[in-house]
Symmetry: C2
Amino acid sequence: MTVETSGAYTLTVGEVAAAGGVAASAVRFYEQHGVIHAERTAGDQRRFDDSAACRIRVAKVAQRVGLTVREIAEIFDRLPEQPRPEDWGQVAETLIREAEERTAALRSYLSQLRSGGRLCEM
Amino acid sequence: MTVETSGAYTLTVGEVAAAGGVAASAVRFYEQHGVIHAERTAGDQRRFDDSAACRIRVAKVAQRVGLTVREIAEIFDRLPEQPRPEDWGQVAETLIREAEERTAALRSYLSQLRSGGRLCEM
DNA sequence: CTCGGCCTTCAACATTGGTTGAAGTCAAGC
DNA sequence: GCTTGACTTCAACCAATGTTGAAGGCCGAG
């Protein structure tokens, strides 16, 4: 019987945009692409829950390590309806693992070139 | 008085494309954007040196960790005219450092969220 | 010297990740 | 209940990263 702040779809596009540090157009874009989810009011306006701004901030950082919006949305999609902290922990681990694998590929390729005697033409 | 294989601009677009594992159009694109450099024949055809295919392969892997073509070109541009192995080592370190910084930013942001008690809405 | 294959440029198209503007609708305060 | 600011959709546009196709030019083998 508490005031249910979590899971409540109360935030407008503008509020999420401000909280997420992006433009309102970007919030709509992320919703269209499944990074965040919204319910609609009777008047067809989007309402987001608290996770939206956070998801957007995570997405922005994840994009910097080369993940696409589609990939990020897919990772978020693995969350259950009522995610528990450990579900989010899984998401975090997946993102970091992906970033590390890509860095490892880069490192591996570069060191392979160097051990070949020269990096590129030398 | 040796046969000068390094630094010789002898390879065509098609040869570099095959060696780099990309399409010819991509080779021209990378040249336009400064990732690789070409001389021109009297008939205005591009001729590349041995480094071209290698630069392209490195660029492809670097793109996977979120670096843009522009950023990659800028890193390659720091190479002197006649790069020595250690100059390429610098490039490799720069690329890896950049990838690691981005991964660290991701990791830092995620752990900060988690230590805040919850990741996103929880 | 000619032929065929690879090269040239240029413009159009595709995809990703958005932004901007027009035209109209919703909702909250007065 | 009206006004005003924030919301809606839609289409156009942007930049990055290429691909594709047309129209034509270069070059090396015979």
